[in-house]
C-alpha cells in the first residue's frame, strides 16, 4: 500500500523541481512549457530518468542529464593571504556586460562563462583561497543553471510551501509540522481527525505517514476541503479510499444528535474537484478560491437551488420532458451525485459517531478553542492531540479552557527553533539568517472524561499539574 511506485520519472507524475534551495512542484507532461527560476524548458527528456537526476537546460529548452565533471580547478593555484591591497575600483572584471551577454547568446556553457570570468578578473589571484571559492560558487550559481528533479515528500513540499507561500499554510514551518506528526503519534492503522486550512499540506503529511492504512476524516470549513498541496504528493489512488470529509458546520448537530443529511453544505464535490484541477500544481489561484470559500453566500444559494430544482420538477414535469432528454440526464446526474455525496457524508458521520478516533490534528486559521472543545468529543481516551496556531495567545486561552473542561492531561505549549549551519573547513558557523517564527503547538493526551465531576478536584496529581489554576481558584473564592 505504500505505493512503491518506480524510482523513474513517468509521464503524469507529480514531481518537484529543485535548483539550489528553491523548489517548485510540477506535473510531468509532454510538450508543456515550464518556467522555473527565470528559465523555461520542457520536461519531455526527463521522462524515464531516475528521480534525483540533475539536468542542464540546453538551447530550445531541452533538459540534458548533467555529466559529473571532474573539477579541473582543483590544481593548486596562487592565492593571496589577505585583502590589504585589494581595492574596489569597479574595474577588476575586464569583461563588460555586453561581452557576457554575447557569450550567453552564443549558447556557451555556463561552466565556460564562469571560467572566462575568472580569467578576466584581475583581482582573482590576489583573493584568499576562501574568497576564490566563494567567488566561483557565486558565479556558478548564476551561470550554471542545473535543475534536479526529485520525488515529492513531506520534507520537500513543506520546505517549499514555507519558503514560497507561507501565507497559504499559515506560516507553519516544516520543523513545526514534523513535531505535529510525532506528537500526534501518526502511524499506519490510525483513525485520524484532521482539521486544517493549510492547502491540504498537513493532510498530505498525515497521509504519507499512514501509508494508506487506517482512515482519515478531514473536517472542512465552507463548501469543501482544499487539497491543492495534497495533490502535489502524487499519492496512489488507494490512499484516497479511506479518506473521508465532514463539514465543520455540521459538527454541532452531529454532537447533539440532530444531524441529518437532508441539507448538504454547498456542493463540495464539484467545488473540490474544480479546485484540484485548476490549481492542483500551479498554486497561484488558491488565494482567490479560499476567499470564495469563506463567503457564506455561496453556501446558501446552493442549498436553496437544489430544493427548488426538485420543486420545479414536480410542478412542471411536462415542461421538463418537453425540454428534451439532455436536461433530464443532467438532472439525473445531479441526483446521482447528490446521492453519492449523501452516502459519503453518512459514512463520515458514522465514523465520527463512534467517538473512538486515535488522534486529532488541528492547524487552521480559526480560533482553536471552539474547534478543540467540540472535536475532542470524537477522540478516544489515551490518544494524543496537537493544535497548531500561528500565535501564542489563542493557545493560552485554549489551554485554560481545556483545563476547565477536563478529560485531557499532559498539556504542553511549545515552539521549536531551527538553526541552519554552514559547515566548511575552517569556515563553520550558524547561517546568517534564521526564521523568526514557525508557530506554536499545544499538545496533550485525552483521558476518560468523568461527566459531572469537575476535573480540578483537590487531588495531588492536579496540584502538581498546574499551579496557576490553583492560584486562580483561590482568587475565585472571594468573588
Amino acid at each position: 500500500m505504500e505505493g512503491g511506485s518506480s524510482a523513474r520519472i513517468r509521464e503524469g507524475d507529480c514531481a518537484v523541481l529543485k535548483r539550489d534551495e528553491v523548489f517548485k512542484a510540477v506535473s510531468v507532461l509532454r510538450r508543456r512549457k515550464i518556467i522555473f527560476e527565470k528559465q523555461w524548458f520542457y520536461l519531455d527528456n526527463a521522462i524515464g530518468h531516475i528521480y534525483g537526476t540533475t539536468f542542464e537546460v540546453t538551447s530550445g529548452g531541452n533538459l540534458q542529464p548533467k555529466q559529473e565533471v571532474e573539477e579541473t580547478t582543483t590544481e593548486t593555484k596562487e592565492a593571496g593571504t589577505d585583502n590589504r591591497n585589494i581595492v574596489d575600483d569597479g574595474k577588476s572584471q575586464k569583461l563588460t556586460h555586453d561581452d557576457i551577454k554575447a557569450l550567453k547568446d552564443k549558447g556557451i556553457k555556463g561552466q565556460e562563462i564562469v571560467q572566462q570570468l575568472i580569467e578576466n578578473s584581475t583581482t582573482f589571484r590576489d583573493k584568499t583561497e576562501f574568497a576564490q571559492d566563494k567567488y566561483i560558487k557565486k558565479k556558478k550559481k548564476k551561470y550554471e543553471a542545473v535543475i534536479t528533479i526529485v520525488k515529492p515528500s513531506t520534507r520537500i513540499l513543506s520546505t517549499m510551501y514555507y519558503a514560497r507561500e507561507p501565507g497559504k499554510i499559515i506560516h507553519l514551518r516544516y520543523d513545526t509540522l514534523a513535531q505535529m506528526l510525532t506528537l500526534g503519534n501518526i502511524h499506519a492503522g490510525n483513525k485520524m481527525i484532521v482539521m486544517e486550512t493549510c492547502a491540504g499540506l498537513v493532510l498530505g503529511a498525515v497521509m504519507e505517514r499512514m501509508g494508506g492504512y487506517g482512515s482519515i476524516i478531514q473536517m472542512y470549513p465552507g463548501g469543501g476541503p482544499v487539497r491543492a498541496a495534497t495533490s502535489c504528493f502524487g499519492f496512489p489512488k488507494p490512499f484516497f479510499d479511506n479518506l473521508h470529509e465532514f463539514p465543520l458546520s455540521k459538527v454541532q448537530s452531529l454532537l447533539s444528535g440532530t444531524f441529518t443529511t437532508e441539507t448538504l453544505p454547498a456542493n463540495p464535490e464539484e467545488n473540490a474537484l474544480l479546485e484540484e484541477e485548476s490549481n492542483g500544481l500551479s498554486e497561484e489561484k488558491q488565494t482567490s478560491l479560499q476567499e470564495t470559500e469563506e463567503e457564506p453566500a455561496t453556501e446558501a444559494p446552493m442549498e436553496i437551488s437544489t430544493t427548488e430544482e426538485q420543486d420545479t420538477m414536480d410542478v412542471n414535469a411536462e415542461d421538463v420532458e418537453f425540454k428534451g432528454n439532455k436536461e433530464k440526464e443532467n438532472v439525473r446526474e445531479k441526483q446521482i451525485k447528490q446521492w453519492e455525496r449523501r452516502k459519503k457524508l453518512k459514512e463520515a458521520a458514522a465514523l465520527l459517531r463512534e467517538k473512538n478516533a486515535d488522534g486529532l490534528i488541528v492547524a487552521s486559521k480559526f480560533h482553536p478553542t471552539p474547534l478543540l472543545l467540540s472535536l475532542l468529543e470524537f477522540v478516544a481516551p489515551s490518544r494524543p492531540f496537537v493544535v497548531y496556531c500561528q500565535y501564542k495567545e489563542p493557545l493560552l486561552e485554549c489551554y485554560t479552557k481545556l483545563r476547565e473542561r477536563g478529560g485531557v492531561i499532559n498539556l504542553k505549549l511549545s515552539e521549536t527553533w531551527l538553526r541552519n549551519y554552514q559547515v566548511l573547513p575552517d569556515r563553520s558557523h550558524p547561517k546568517l539568517t534564521m526564521s523568526g517564527g514557525g508557530g506554536y503547538l499545544l499538545s496533550g493526551i485525552t483521558v476518560v472524561l468523568e461527566k459531572g465531576k469537575s476535573d480540578s478536584s483537590n487531588s495531588e496529581a492536579l496540584k502538581m499539574e498546574e499551579p496557576s489554576s490553583k492560584r486562580c481558584k483561590l482568587q475565585d473564592l472571594p468573588c
Binding site: 534525483g52 509540522l177 489515551s382 496557576s468 486562580c472
Partner: protein, 308 residues
Amino acid sequence: MSFVEYGDTIKDGDTAIVFLGHESMFPVKVQHGTVTQTKYGVIRHSTDLIGKKYGSKVTCSKGGWVFILHPTPELWTMNLPHRTQILYSTDISIITMMLELKPGSIVCESGTGSGSLSHALIRTVAPTGHLYTVEFHQQRAEKAREEFREHGVEHLVTVTNQDVCKNGFGVSNIADAVFLDIPSPWEAIGHAKSALKAEGGRICSFSPCIEQVQRTCLAMEEYGFTEINTLEILLRVYNVRTISLQIPDLGKAAEDNSSTAFDSSSPSDQGSPCANLQQGTVQFKSGVPLREVVGHTGYLTFATKSLV
C-alpha cells in the same frame, strides 16, 4: 497493545504508562497478580488494570488516583530506562521527516543505545518496513532485543551486535535511510552508502560537537553525498500563567478617578471576574519560558545519496 497499534483495553503483558501528574509518570509491565507501588498507594494489576480502558482513572489504595495511558514511542522516550544518553522527541521528529520515513521504509540505525529513537522509527515504518539497528555493546544489544519483544515489535526490527565502523550494517543496497549516532560517524559513511539502495536514499548523523560535524561533512562529500545540510532544532516550552502586575501610584489628581482605562478593559478581556478585585493591578495570561531550557542536544547533518 503494541507500540505500533492502539488497543482499547489493558491486557496481561502490556506495557502501560502510569501518569501521576505533571510530567511525573513511569512505565509498568502489566501482570496478573502483581502490584505496583505509587506515592498514592498500591495498584493491583489483576483488579485495577486488566480489562480497564486505556485512559481510565485508577484509584490507588490510599485514595489518590492516577491515569493509565497507552504506550507510545513519545511516552516511552520520557520514561525508558537509560542505558545511554538518548534522543528526545524534538530531534526525533525532524529526523523522521528529513529522512522521509513512512510505512514501508527500510532504515538502518547505529547505535541502538537505549532504543529511544528505535521505537519511533519502528512506529513510523510499520507494518511493512523494517529497522536494522546495530549496537556494538553486547549487553545493550540484548536488552534492546528484549524490549522490542516485550513491546510487540520484534518482527519489525533486527538487532545486530557488531561495530558499525568496522563491519557496517550487515545489509547492502536495501535501505531508504540511514541514521548514525556514534562518536565517529565519518568512519561509517562508506558503510552507510553501501547499505542504502542503489537508486539513492537519505542519511542523517547526530553529533554534539562541531568538530565531529566537520569531519562527517567531509566524509559525506568524499563519498558523493549531495544536499549536505546541518541544522539544530531546539524546543521551547511555555508555562501558562496568569500574571498580575501592579499599577504604580503616580499620585493622580482626585477627580481623575483611578485608572478608568484599565478597570473597564481588563475584566472583559480576561473573562475573569477577579481582574479588578484588587484595585491597582492588571491581570493577563502569559506563556512563560522555563527558567532553564535545553540549549543544545546535537547537530543534525542530513544528506542525500543520489543515483549510482
